[in-house]
Amino acid sequence: MPRMSAAWFTVVFGLSYIAIFALDLALFLYYPLVRQFSFVPLIDASSGPAMHWYGLMASAGCAGLAASVCLRDRWIPEVLLQWLWIVPVSAMFASAFLLRQFFA
């Protein structure tokens, strides 16, 4: 099993999550009413509402996993090491901004 970088996973997951959420690039959709996963939106109205979040997590997870396999912890500059937590915080702020229509 390849050695994986935990720090790079978090950083790339957070950055890609913002882009994937903003551009709605979910890997797949889930239709809870018919209990069906789909790579494309189902046009049949009887399919019920689609859930995007599982697909968003999967998309960002793939990006994070790829980065964690390809990149090494030691490649993170020492000066940046203490600031990596800013990425998940930024992803949280971006998510809140993208959801602002619910609170208008």
Binding site: A7, P49, L99, F102, F103
Partner: protein, 152 residues
Amino acid sequence: MIVAALIAHGLIAVALLGAITHQALAVLRPEPLSARGTAFISRYVAVDPRVFRNAVIAMYVASFVLGCLLYPAYRLDARIPLEELQLGWAVGLFELKEHFGGIGLSALPLYHYYWSTARAPGSGRIAITLVLSFIIWFDFISGHIVNNIRGV
């Protein structure tokens, strides 16, 4: 089944809240305190915060998995009535909860890295612990608020 999963989700979340809050307060203490003090706060924060690492990760993952299993029931049985009641803020609150929860899950590897590596700076360790604390408290409270309005 859904009710049992919801109760387990809540119970694990309570234990997780206790662990992350204990760790966060311990890591924030200004200087090492003696566990022999009599004051409750002194004794509460006089623990080694490293011992919480694996418990926090295990409970976060367990709570997250249960939340994922409950999510379809929420989408069908709770969100649709909330939308019909025009409670957009409640729907948004739950949306925030799910996104923060996912971002928190992705922060666990960094949290583990900060708490496992000698090279990791102390300020990063404190920050990621506080970020996870915020997410866990926010998700717990927002989940309760939405469930009190319209439960699954």
